[in-house]
């Protein structure tokens, strides 16, 4: 058999010398990667060059036609798609992504916490929507709507918030623009807040945040006192143990530009959702509007991490 191989190899070399064509995948060649890995070659019966050319041309025409048609369909399908259809497609994609995210979401999975030394100093400022007016800290009150056992808003003070268990965390604040900073927050877990000020369940009964979160209304809406900035949160993310109603940042009370006297801080969503200077909190089963996540700006309503 090896003698046959020698003869064949010789003939291949002779063929190469005569035609100037390199036989680069001769199966008996020990250096051939195809034979080393037992690559199988799928070869037709030998045919005349004219026949080969004819068959290839037919296949080429078909291939380029199908490929070209598919490409044109893609390009013009997108170009001629009405804006309304596009907007719907984008919205439905975000909603689909949201459902997938919710499917895998667990409140037990926590964001990494960092040592004090890693805190970004000075804290980065970005976004003043809803902070136009000068805040009168003494006059500031928090309005809470959708609570169990009442139809009007509950009005509470910062001291009422501070009377709740204090929680601190050093987490990464992530802006949807792509940058991140590490911030030391102090405040009240939203879940502690909602345990004390129980929301009204969907069936009208008193909400039990710790044990029966599935009965709660699905959303929380928050707005600045001037109502110029507003965010929407889904209940699972707002009840995450690292979602805080924060009143301190990096060891000091919140400054004006960072949302004095009370803001949201959470590594479960982008910064656009971490509203500064909260004026009103509403528990609701109706999907609330969101400043950046609305049709005007077109960001992801969910924006969840």
């Amino acid at each position: 058999m090896s003698e046959d191989k020698e003869v064949l190899l010789e003939k291949v070399r002779e063929f190469e010398a005569r035609t100037g064509h390199t036989v680069d995948s001769y199966p008996g060649d020990p250096n051939n990667t195809a034979s080393v890995l037992k690559e199988h070659r799928y070869l037709s019966e030998p045919i005349s060059p004219e026949n080969a050319k004819k068959q290839m041309s037919a296949m080429s025409r078909r291939g380029f036609f199908v490929g070209g048609a598919a490409a044109l369909l893609g390009i013009f399908g997108w170009r001629w798609m009405p804006d309304e259809t596009k907007t719907n497609l984008i919205r439905r994609t975000f909603e689909f992504n949201e459902r997938v995210s919710q499917l895998f979401y667990s409140p037990r999975r926590l964001a990494t916490e960092f040592p004090e030394a890693r805190v970004t100093m000075p804290a980065r400022f970005n976004g003043a929507e809803g902070l136009d007016e000068v805040v009168d800290l003494a006059a500031w009150r928090l309005n809470v709507s959708g609570l169990a056992g009442r139809t009007d808003d509950l009005v509470i003070t910062l001291d009422d918030i501070k009377n709740l268990p204090r929680t601190e965390m050093i987490t990464e604040f992530k802006c949807i623009e792509g940058w991140s900073t590490i911030v030391h927050w102090a405040g009240v877990r939203f879940s502690d807040f909602a345990a004390k000020y129980a929301p009204k369940n969907r069936d009208g009964s008193t909400g039990d945040v710790a044990n029966r979160p599935q009965d709660l209304p699905r959303y929380v809406s928050m707005t600045t006192p001037d109502e110029k900035y507003y965010v929407a949160w889904d209940m699972p993310a707002i009840l995450h143990p690292q979602t805080l109603l924060a009143y301190e940042m990096n060891g000091a009370p919140l400054t004006n530009e960072h949302g004095a006297p009370l803001r949201l801080a959470s590594p479960t969503k982008y910064g656009i959702k971490q509203i500064k200077r909260i004026g009103r909190i509403e528990f609701t089963d109706e999907r609330p509007r969101d400043y950046w996540g609305g049709p005007e700006y077109g960001y992801d309503w969910y924006a969840g991490h």
């Binding site: 195809a34 690559e39 080969a52 979401y105 990464e172 623009e177």
Partner: protein, 242 residues
């Protein structure tokens, strides 16, 4: 034993790329293009990367002229919309390709073998006309095996680093594994650059390899010289009809 390839100069049609591979390859092209384009729209909002040497910035990603020429500024929301739409198709296409490659046995022609690492540089030297001997070529040569396997790993890397940026809290273990959120973003960015470099070399090589090779990615077939040795002497009556 007889040997074909004599005076007749007969040809053989060689099936090179299965239908599935051709579709998956060509579908991937616009998908990857959209992922890169939308990624650049997103990146613009925080353009912090560059090539630095001894504290001196040699190149900034991206120069203002580049951004303006392509109309990139202030399209973050659009970039996110496109990125989070096409990501599904990009990922599914890649997963289907990997499954197909494994099930069909195509991986045998694709994965580098131990000798590939040693021989791949000679492919490059041969391509550069420095080394005359043609390196062994199966369906792919050793450099191709490494390149095509790498690009699949890069795709996986893009999905993994992308997930780490997309869900850094729910997947905090993954984000930490990649060195944290900022590193994951850096890795995701450089994988994109690697794709662009791969694309440039790939297109160049395809042009150099010629039309027949390019056509085989569309039709699936290439025309090769009939050199396949026949194990039985050809019957005298054998005629090839057009």
């Amino acid at each position: 034993m007889s040997f074909h390839g004599g005076e007749a100069m007969e040809k053989q049609l060689e099936k090179k790329h299965p239908l599935a591979v051709r579709w998956l390859h060509w579908i991937n092209f616009p998908l990857l293009a959209m992922m890169i384009w939308s990624g650049i729209l997103i990146y613009w909002a925080n353009p912090v990367y560059g090539i630095r040497l001894f504290g001196y910035e040699l190149f900034k990603f991206f120069p203002q002229s580049f951004n303006e020429f392509l109309g990139i500024p202030f399209r973050l929301a659009e970039g996110l919309q496109l990125h989070f739409f096409f990501m599904w198709f990009f990922a599914v296409n890649g997963v289907v390709y990997i499954i197909y490659t494994i099930v069909s046995g195509e991986w045998r022609a694709l994965l580098p073998i131990p000798a590939s690492l040693k021989r791949a540089p000679f492919v490059a030297l041969h391509d550069a006309h420095i080394v005359k001997n043609k390196p062994p070529q199966g369906k792919y040569n050793d450099a191709q095996r490494i390149a095509y396997t790498s690009v699949i790993l890069m795709g996986m890397g893009s999905i993994i680093t992308g997930l780490a940026i997309y869900k850094p809290t729910q997947l905090s273990w993954l984000t930490s594994l990649l060195g944290g959120y900022e590193w994951a973003r850096w890795e995701h960015f450089w994988l994109m650059v690697s794709f662009v470099l791969f694309f440039a070399v790939h297109v160049f090589q395809v042009i150099m390899a010629g039309w027949s090779n390019f056509r085989s990615m569309i039709t699936g077939y290439d025309i090769v010289e009939a050199v396949e040795p026949k194990h039985e002497p050809a019957p005298a009556a054998e005629e090839v009809t057009a």
